[in-house]
């Protein structure tokens, strides 16, 4: 017989991962709901999942590759952009979609108990599915361009996981702060757009002048993108600075995210 003790919680406690595992079916059905609702009443349905990363990739490739003739380290510009968009999509779409998830599901949170972490995690489900579809498109593109894969492909899952976890950390921060101040819901898209330009997605980081390289590499997402790009297309491996700032950004965002989320979690039903 399970015994539940209800009492005021201590200031810091660890997440009850066991409970989240217990509720994994809920995670599945909530994620399924989000995915189903996303493409309900669209006639193209799943085709949008393919078009969403592909269309911008083509536009950027034509603009920057063909017209502006920006460097792409000898790789097809389209592939360079596309390999940038996959980890970036995983990271930024998480924040964009799951960042408002707590507020959007306040009806559930104020009526039924379940591990609250399930809500942002489930909202990230559709992002992960989109990412998997994009990977499929990438495989087709690689075949079309006749690009051979190397041993460094083994590092690709690591960079995707890093993108997911860094996205999760920031999602938790944004989703929590949104509960208190809805302003974040408005500010986040601008911040993400600015961040997008500071990250080598539609261009290569080799475009950045030598004397700014170090400062540029301190942006944790630079490592995410260049790392994934290298693991798929080969070329110049990422620098130690990029790797270090990526890992420290990852750890910091997860740690802060968890702490902020927990603080919000306890009083949530009283605020919303």
């Amino acid at each position: 017989m399970s015994v539940t003790r209800i009492q005021p919680r201590r200031r810091f406690s660890f997440f009850e991962w066991k409970e989240i595992v217990e509720y994994r079916d809920l995670l599945y059905f909530l994620a399924l709901r989000d995915i189903k609702l996303r493409y309900k009443q669209t006639s193209l349905g799943a085709v949008w999942v393919i078009l969403q990363p592909l269309v911008p990739a083509v536009i950027f490739a034509v603009l920057f590759g063909n017209f502006a003739r920006l460097p792409s380290n000898g790789q097809p510009y389209l592939l360079m952009v596309f390999t940038g968009l996959i980890p970036w999509g995983l990271f930024s779409n998480s924040i964009g979609r799951a960042g408002t998830s707590l507020v959007a599901n306040s009806g559930l949170l104020s009526k039924i108990y379940f591990p609250r972490l399930i809500i942002p995690l489930a909202s990230m489900g559709s992002v992960v599915v989109d990412g998997l579809v994009s990977l499929g498109v990438l495989v087709v593109l690689l075949a079309l361009f006749g690009i051979g894969l190397g041993w460094h492909l083994l590092a690709a899952p690591f960079f995707l996981l890093a993108a997911f976890l860094m996205g999760l950390g920031l999602t938790l921060i944004v989703a929590s702060l949104n509960v208190y101040h809805r302003d974040f819901g408005y500010a986040v898209p601008f911040a993400l757009q600015a961040w997008n330009y500071l990250t080598p997605i539609v261009y290569s980081s080799s475009l950045i002048p030598e004397r700014w390289q170090f400062l540029y590499s301190l942006n944790p997402t630079v490592g995410l993108i260049e790392g994934f790009r290298w693991s798929v297309l080969g070329g110049v491996p990422i620098t130690v600075t990029m790797m270090a700032s990526m890992l420290s950004g990852l750890v910091a965002s997860l740690a802060i995210g968890m702490a902020v989320f927990q603080k919000i979690e306890r009083g949530f039903a009283d605020i919303v």
Binding site: S2, V3, I6, P8, Y28, L32
Partner: protein
């Protein structure tokens, strides 16, 4: 003394406070307990205005009780007494500020039926989503899926989005999922107020099943008669504190006695008349044969209870008033008229005449309902808002010198023969 394992729920000095400030924002209780003014932004400073603007409100304080396994435990009290806060803490939606509660077994809560239902999803998808939300595993839902569909009577529409369901089907499906989750401890808040009368009966039946299987139920309700018929033990909450715990009958009786202060023998509902689009109740009063309002009934005199209602749409069929008379928290009797009720739209009065020497001395409350038999529906049911007092002379010869209150719900003068 009961062994610990026979106790399903233990609550010890449980309390919950909210900080209320002038904006009306409720701060989380953690901050509220720490008290004092908190600086939000550096430029806001710690002005005296902020210090003045918050006070701590205890929604629940020093609550202690135990619920033995397999018992149905009722919680009653007026609006704002802390009933819902208590259930929210026990179902872990919100955290207590002080004290602790220990729950042995899996908890299912029916705080609001149908939470998490999405209109775009089909009945099938909603059953799985709602079921897992209520803490079931997918495999468990597979097992009871057919029973849920049977109970809700939605076989033909199980793959239709629930936005196309009638409101009755929607509620039935939602309740069916909740009713089949088979927890050890069930927390219920006023769910029986949903659906039509027939469905309510079904739900009451299901609740009796649940308790028959040795499950523990925590039941919060305004309806004293439901509490009386379902609960073994009952707790009365007043302003966040427990004022009484004990056998249901005695607790409901004293709650009933305390409600005299708020309910009277004149009820005016014109500001917000309860009812549906066919018929609604406007008011009620106690009258004598000349049509004058009276404020109390004498045991020796006939008195009438008059309900004023408004028929908005007579197409629904005959609207039958029925009055439920309660005393000491128990239903004494129910009465409805035999003659055909008026069928024209507009205001009508229905008066039931209580003969002299029929009611006992004491306080009676009347619940007013208006129903249509076919198709069965209840237009309104106004509860615990009207009561009146029957008084008698202590020198009355029928008392034979007794000075205490004569027991009984009624005291009719009956024929006797003696040899």
């Amino acid at each position: 003394m009961t062994a610990t394992s026979d106790i399903a729920v233990t609550v010890r000095s449980l309390g919950k406070s909210y900080k209320i400030d002038h904006l009306g924002l409720a701060e989380p209780p953690v901050e509220a307990a720490e008290g004092g003014s908190r600086r939000r932004w550096p430029w806001q400073g710690k002005g005296p205005r902020q210090r003045m603007s918050s006070e701590i409100f205890w929604a629940l304080r020093d609550v202690d009780f135990e619920v033995p396994r397999g018992k149905v435990f009722g919680v009653i009290g007026r609006n704002g007494a802390g009933k819902s806060t208590l259930l929210k803490i026990l179902s872990r939606i919100t955290e207590p500020t002080t004290g602790m509660a220990e729950i042995r077994g899996r908890v299912g809560s029916l705080l609001e039926v149908g939470t998490g239902f999405h209109p775009e999803l089909s009945g099938r998808e909603n059953i799985y989503l709602n079921g897992t939300l209520l803490g079931m595993r997918r495999r468990q839902i597979d097992q009871v899926f057919d029973a849920i569909v049977d109970f809700a009577e939605v076989h033909r529409f199980i793959d239709t989005p629930v936005k196309r369901y009638s409101s009755g089907m929607y509620v039935r499906l939602a309740f069916a999922v909740a009713a089949h989750l088979e927890p050890d401890i069930l927390i219920i808040d006023e769910v029986l107020a949903v659906g039509d009368l027939q469905f309510q009966k079904k739900c009451l039946g299901k609740m009796k099943d649940v308790t028959g299987q040795g499950r523990t139920v925590l039941f919060v309700s305004h309806s004293l008669s439901t509490v009386n018929s379902l609960c073994d033990t009952c707790m009365l909450l007043e302003n966040g504190r427990v004022t009484q715990i004990g056998p249901t009958e005695s607790v409901t009786a004293s709650y009933f006695a305390s409600s005299e202060e708020t309910a009277g023998s004149l009820l005016d509902l014109t500001a917000d008349p309860p009812g549906d689009r066919f018929c609604r109740m406007v008011g009620a009063r106690m009258v004598d044969r000349s049509g004058e309002s009276v404020s109390y009934a004498h045991i020796d005199r006939e008195v009438g209870i008059e309900m004023t209602y408004e028929l908005l749409d007579p197409s629904t069929g005959p609207v039958i008033p029925n009055f439920h008379f309660f005393t000491a928290g128990q239903c004494a009797f129910i009465s409805s008229p035999l003659p055909q009720p008026p069928a024209s739209s507009g205001r009508h009065q229905a008066t039931v005449w209580l003969p002299a020497r029929f009611l006992n001395e004491g306080t009676y409350s009347v619940n007013f309902a208006a129903t249509t038999p076919i198709p069965q529906c209840c237009h309104f049911h106004v509860q615990d808002q009207f009561c009146f007092e029957v008084i008698e002379d202590l020198h009355d010869e029928a008392r034979h010198g007794a000075v205490h209150k004569v027991p009984g719900a009624v005291r009719p003068q009956l024929d006797w023969s003696m040899r």
